[in-house]
Symmetry: C2
DNA sequence: TGTCAACCGGGCTGTCGGTCCGGATCGCAA
DNA sequence: TTGCGATCCGGACCGACAGCCCGGTTGACA
């Protein structure tokens, strides 16, 4: 039986989340942020840190979840243009744009989350599989041709953290320009899918 | 002044390349392949290994270069459909298809090469930037709308090692199916770009 | 064959993710 | 308030791994 979490454990967990958030926002190279650093910044022992989150990936997931949850809720049950009432074409565009913005706002964190390490891959994360499934359905609903699964992967590949970071930080492309270009690219893909119905 | 490489150094370098190639082909989890393993398999000391390739990334680059070179040559100066005489649309499709095949054939290696570690990113590699530049030009030559830079990134994102590995190894999608789906997706994107000329 | 620079090997170091366990703390009950 | 057991804390500890170092060796050339 799982007992209720003790109050000091909850307090420490919260402290870690706050401190880690702060660290990821300020540190220049997220890959070099060690668990010891996080523990020290949170004023907590390493044992506590690992008991609360299991491992590094667990901590990153927890941090990312906090950032992503509002967007997920808006997509699942919010008002247009993210919510389910929007027509598929516009909804896809709105979702990808929102993801772009969130990832840009949390560049370091998303970079670390999507980093492939050990046996984990971006494509194995439940978060990814959920949004991919949704995009699949939406793409199919636009009635276009092509394989909807691969198309959905393609659309999501456009907002991968390392690509965004390269374009924004390394190449200095502005957020406005990025959003506009993404929107036009998405539109282009969907327009084509729309214009070429299944061949049979 | 850089002196000529001594013969034993050249021999050892070759031995390492052979042994590492073999290891990457057989080992199940490429991320867990340590430099010590490579050195041991090549029958060479660790010092030799690091002197020859600088660091892990250098070794991976050298391995990947050997695999990628034939394709690069075929693209730069070979016969159609990869060579420069082909029309842009078909050439883009041919290039992406060839990349897909090479990456699938060297799954573990490409996975390790594209792995983000330290300050390196796929998008910072000269190999990537070269093929991206070429695709940019080709996309622009098709005369379609949209930002050619982002479009080229999108096309290349379709053949990223982790995505291919997920589709092929994790989901069990056949190579034939993968190639067909990629071809249709590429065609779809380019068709749309073709059909919607620049807005001004 | 002698000489010396280049090279070899593998032991060593620093770092980091993750574990362990003696001691402190919390929650509850009387 | 006090007693008690389960839960939690903290930081020392471990194993793995990238990369460095240096005494001994070997190839190149006269």
């Amino acid at each position: 039986m799982t007992r209720a979490e003790r109050s000091d454990a909850a307090r420490n967990r919260a402290a870690v989340l706050v401190a880690a958030d702060e660290l990821f926002a300020t540190v220049p190279e997220p890959a070099r942020l060690s668990m010891d650093d996080v523990a020290a910044a949170a004023g907590v022992g390493k044992g506590t840190l690992f008991r609360a989150f299991g491992n590094r990936a667990g901590l990153l997931q927890a941090l990312w979840q906090r950032r992503y949850e509002p967007l997920r809720d808006a997509i699942e049950s919010g008002p247009p243009p993210l919510g389910p009432e929007t027509n598929p074409r516009q909804r896809i565009a709105a979702i990808l744009d929102a993801i772009l913005v969130v990832k840009l706002d949390n560049r370091h964190l998303t970079l670390a989350v999507e980093e492939r390490s050990g046996g984990t891959s971006l494509y194995g994360q439940p978060q990814y599989q959920l949004v991919h499934q949704l995009l699949c359905d939406l793409v199919r609903a636009t009635g276009g041709g092509g394989d909807s699964e691969l198309l959905a992967h393609l659309l999501l590949a456009a907002v991968r953290a390392d690509l965004l970071t390269h374009l924004a930080s390394r190449q200095g492309i502005s957020r406005r320009r990025l959003r506009a270009d993404l929107a036009s690219a998405v539109d282009l893909v969907l327009e084509a899918a729309d214009a070429s119905p299944p061949s049979d």
